[in-house]
């Protein structure tokens, strides 16, 4: 420590009282801020399609499922997995995960009763087509033989009775739509047994959102313990679901922070110490930036906004611009003359304010909030740098420790300006074509920091079971339920998709009429032959044909239209399932029909197929499209904001400087730095994310700050070391993120490092060459 670096407070009591009062006010306002980790409220509200997708999928709540798959080692019976799953259920229940409710015998009996009563309108065209085969003589004989065999089984009680009323088992055909996940899978005490008999699936419902990181952590920790315990018993448990992905991402971010933040902080501290040669000086350099965070949260809180925690992280990154103020002011104050810094500092601050003010008008709440945060932070940082630092940093003139290499470097940059400009142009020519290769990220999974084991488990699961939950839907809203349902049926037919449980059990009026007409036509055409065939087959198998009189009475044309409403399914296991797929709200009926077992390419192509083959009121809701739409909306708005910011900054600089060359010296280097940055990223094959685009604002902000300082011709030699220090610290902080395991963090780190490096090179190469050595701009 260098006690001489920071002198005693040199303001009067009034000043310090005002400072203390202001700090207390900021602190109180910040303390009242309502923090949230829920980003839903931050999503754009100006895009109807995105709103529709978010609203629909959020209401489905399909992410609140956790699946546990159990397999056993060779030689270990699958039965051995059941006790392990039972223990896991007991462990997870207190943490909010419980098995899905199983239907009771009475509910199932009622379900069969409803199906039998509504049978002619519940059988789809495909099921009726299959009936033609089953009711033909060969099929009928085989069916009767099965009935005979089962009925004579001593532990069978009701087959004979049930067969008398429905000998073809038509009532059970619609139930195939309820078959557990994979065709042929079966339920067993709350578990689902895979058709291959080699794995069990335990679906669990979770009573909280995976975004609740604390509870998700506790849940997954308990699941991990159960997995380890089961492994010792030769049972492999695999946990699949969004909770595992959320936990992985949180763990990756935490681990990366633990490694990159201390390393970055140490590098920054060493860099600044080498410039200030005083730890208190280093602290003073960071004081405005530290206060700016409090100011940012306080201003957003006063403005009434919710403070989304991830946004604070971004705001902190952007407020890194404010470090520039601290470094410049502290260096100048320690040198004994801060006056030359005041003007560029004010210019820099005003330009930054203009730039980030462009975010305030964004219809994306996240960006508007970010704008408020950054403006509040910048204002606090400037006030602290301009009026607080002079009271706490004592003058201690000493030669700039970096002069030995910064001055020769500056001299090289100032010599032969045309050559420097030519060099800049050559670099631009080399890198700019890379801009044409840039593309927004096409696979959002590249932003996912899940462990390879987690992805492998999901992949294996999807391969084995098809899907965990329905995340793809055909949706239709109409004033009448029948109209919505019929539109879905029409779309499904044109898309050649099999009916979901919604179409199976809740056909619309038109589809009911079609099904009943088909039923009537079938039995009108085949009824007599069927009765004759039945008599023959019964005689062959030793059965009494008269016993099947109830079946024959049922297998008849039905003249009266058969009504069917949601209420008909009350008291059956379908009550909740169907209510979630067909409900009335906002003045219309919404029908949502799950589309399962689609590959990723098929899912991606689904909206286009619907638009092409089934244009009309039916639309597609999938998580993939919601994420893609979100990225598109954010990117589009960021692009518009970018243009607005560029325009605002240009106007601000022109108005402040009012001379062509200095203006160019301030505006061109950051623009060129951005072109270099994203051009290089394009050549490297990197894809842009909304986050990397946001990072461009940081690069631009630092770039223009540095250019403003380096444009001060006569002061340039004094200012060059702090300018380089500012960029070097940013590079030190961000380059450590490149080694992060989380792809998002590593991507942002890479973009920032390249951006900061480009800033440094562009500002040193172009600004002195363009601004010349004249007097500082007015």
């Amino acid at each position: 420590m260098d006690p001489g670096a920071v002198g005693r407070p040199r303001g009067g009591w009034g000043f310090w009282c005002a400072c203390a009062a202001l700090l207390v006010l900021l602190g109180l306002a910040a303390a009242r801020a309502r923090f949230t980790s829920d980003l839903k409220a931050m999503l754009p509200t100006n895009d109807a399609e995105l709103n529709r997708l978010v609203g629909f999928l959020d209401a489905r709540g399909t992410t609140r499922l956790l699946a546990i798959e159990a397999t056993t080692a060779p030689g270990v019976a699958l039965e051995a997995a059941k006790p392990e799953l039972a223990r896991l259920v007991a462990d997870l229940a207190p943490r909010g995960a419980t098995p899905l409710p199983q239907p009771g015998a009475a509910e199932m009996a009622h379900l069969v009763q409803v199906i039998e009563a509504k049978l002619p309108v519940l059988l789809t065209a495909e099921q009726l087509a299959a009936l033609a085969t089953d009711s033909a003589p060969a099929g009928l004989r085989a069916q009767l033989a099965r009935i005979r065999q089962k009925a004579t089984d001593p532990d069978d009680v009701f087959t004979a009775s049930a067969a008398r009323a429905d000998l073809l088992g038509l009532g059970y055909r619609p139930l195939q739509a309820l078959e557990a996940i994979s065709a042929g899978a079966a339920y067993d005490h709350g578990l689902i047994v895979h058709p291959d008999g080699r794995s069990l699936l335990l679906p669990l419902q979770v009573d909280f959102d995976p975004g609740e990181s604390g509870r998700t952590d506790a849940l997954m920790t308990a699941a991990d313990a159960a997995v380890a315990r089961a492994a010792a018993a030769g049972v492999t448990l695999s946990v699949v679901g969004s909770y595992r992905h959320f936990r992985d991402n949180a763990v990756a971010l935490r681990a990366d922070s633990m490694t990159t933040v201390p390393l970055g902080a140490a590098l920054i501290a060493l860099l600044l110490w080498s410039l200030a040669r005083s730890w208190t000086g280093v602290l003073a350099m960071y004081l405005p930036a530290a206060l700016s965070l409090i100011g940012a949260v306080a201003v957003l809180s006063v403005c009434g906004g919710m403070v989304a925690l991830p946004l604070v992280g971004f705001a902190a990154t952007l407020l890194g611009v404010a470090v520039d103020y601290g470094i410049q002011m502290t260096t100048a104050l320690r040198a004994g003359d801060a006056a030359p810094v005041h003007r560029p500092l004010l210019m820099s601050w005003l330009v930054s304010l203009c730039a980030f003010a462009g975010l305030l008008t964004s219809p994306v709440p996240a960006l508007a909030s970010l704008g408020v945060l950054v403006l509040g932070g910048l204002a606090t940082a400037y006030l602290a740098a301009r009026w607080l630092l002079p009271r706490v940093v004592a003058a201690k003139p000493r030669p700039d420790p970096w002069r030995r290499w910064t001055l020769p470097l500056l001299a090289w940059c100032e010599r032969f300006p045309r050559r420097r400009l030519l060099l800049g142009a050559l670099i631009t020519l080399a890198l700019a074509p890379g801009l044409g290769r840039l593309a927004m990220v096409s696979d959002l999974q590249r932003m996912d920091g899940s462990q390879p084991a987690t992805r492998a488990a999901l992949s294996t699961f999807l391969e084995r079971w098809g899907s965990l939950e329905s995340t793809n839907f055909l949706v239709c809203e109409q004033p009448e339920a029948d109209a919505a349902l019929d539109a879905i049926v029409t779309a499904r037919t044109r898309l050649a998709l099999p009916p979901s449980r919604l179409e199976q059990f809740m056909p619309g009026a038109d589809e009911r009429a079609r099904r009943q007409a088909a039923w009537n036509a079938f039995w009108t055409a085949h009824g007599d032959a069927f009765r004759a065939d039945l008599a023959v087959a019964c005689a062959e198998l030793g059965l009494r044909p008269a016993a099947f009189a109830a079946s024959l009475a049922r297998y008849q044309p039905v003249a009266e239209p058969i009504p069917l409403t949601l209420a008909d399914w009350d008291g059956t296991p379908l009550t909740l399932a169907l209510a979630g797929l067909l409900h009335h709200g906002d003045g219309a009926w919404q029908a949502a029909s799950p589309v399962d077992r689609l590959s990723r390419p098929e899912t991606i192509a689904l909206p286009a197929r619907v638009a092409e083959l089934a244009p009309g009121p039916v639309w597609v809701a999938t998580r993939i499209h919601m994420a893609e739409r979100l990225v598109a909306v954010l990117s589009s708005d960021l692009a518009r904001r970018g243009l607005l910011i560029a325009l605002t900054v240009t106007v601000a600089v022109v108005l402040l400087v009012r001379r062509a060359r200095p203006c160019l010296a301030m505006l061109l280097p950051p623009a060129v730095a951005l072109a270099w940055t994203f051009g290089l990223l394009g050549w490297m094959g990197e894809e842009l994310t909304p986050f990397s685009v946001l990072v461009a604002a940081f690069v631009g902000g630092i770039g223009i700050d540095c250019a403003i300082f380096l444009a001060q011709g006569e002061q340039r030699a004094r200012l060059v070391s702090p300018v380089i220090a500012c960029i070097a610290t940013a590079i030190a902080g961000t380059s450590t993120m490149i080694v992060a395991h989380h792809p998002l963090l590593a991507g942002v780190g890479l973009t920032l490092t390249i951006g900061m490096g480009s800033c440094l090179v562009a500002c040193l190469l172009l600004t002195p060459a363009l601004a010349g050595r004249g007097a500082p701009p007015r």
């Binding site: 009475a106 009763q113 009925a151 001593p154 004979a160 009775s161």
Partner: protein
């Protein structure tokens, strides 16, 4: 719907250890539960006759029911056909070849564990949720169970359990299904307290 077999069994074992002198008293569920409390093991052969409307002739099968209260286990065997085992709180079904069949395919089996527990404990409460249970009014040692819900009544008309005159054991059970299909069980005199190996409840 094999759970109904277990309902029959509940009715079967409870009175086995009842005091013969009490036969003259009215038959109540409390007496049956109290009587079942003293049981350790039970072995009883039976004959099943199924009179089905779809068949000209009745289907006759032989079997043995074994219960071990210390092991909390039940074995219901139809000789040469199938075996139902309840042990470790799980119901399993084995076919004629001794191969285990997937119990999950039969919803009746899924709810059977509860019935098995009732069978072992002598607690009739679960049955009263499904049936109205009434002793015969004319003094015959017989219980008549009728389904309480229309859904259940669609499959089962009634269940009759007739005890031996001394109430020491059941004599027969009649299960009348919808359409008047009838399944009758005729029980031989039971063996009680005999040692039944644990292995009998593990595999066929």
């Amino acid at each position: 719907m094999k759970c109904f077999l277990m309902l029959c069994a509940c009715a079967l074992i409870a009175p086995l250890l009842a005091d013969p002198a009490a036969a003259a008293e009215a038959l109540t569920l409390e007496r049956l539960r109290a009587a079942a409390a003293g049981m350790t093991t039970l072995r009883v052969p039976f004959t099943q006759e199924k009179h089905l409307a779809i068949l000209d002739e009745p289907v006759v099968s032989q079997g043995v029911l074994e219960i071990s209260r210390p092991l909390q286990a039940v074995r219901w065997e139809f000789t040469g056909r199938s075996v139902l085992l309840f042990a470790h709180d799980h119901v399993r079904r084995f076919g004629a070849e001794g191969k285990e069949e997937l119990s999950g395919r039969d919803p009746g089996l899924q709810s059977m564990a509860g019935q098995m527990r009732a069978l072992l404990s002598g607690d009739w409460a679960p049955m009263k949720e499904l049936f109205d249970i009434a002793p015969d009014t004319d003094g015959t040692p017989r219980l008549v169970l009728t389904p309480r819900t229309p859904d259940l009544a669609r499959y089962l008309t009634r269940l009759e359990i007739r005890f031996r005159p001394d109430l020491g054991a059941p004599e027969s059970i009649l299960l009348v299904a919808n359409g008047d299909d009838r399944t009758e069980y005729h029980f031989a005199p039971p063996q009680t307290g005999a040692e039944i190996p644990t292995a009998r409840f593990e595999r066929p």
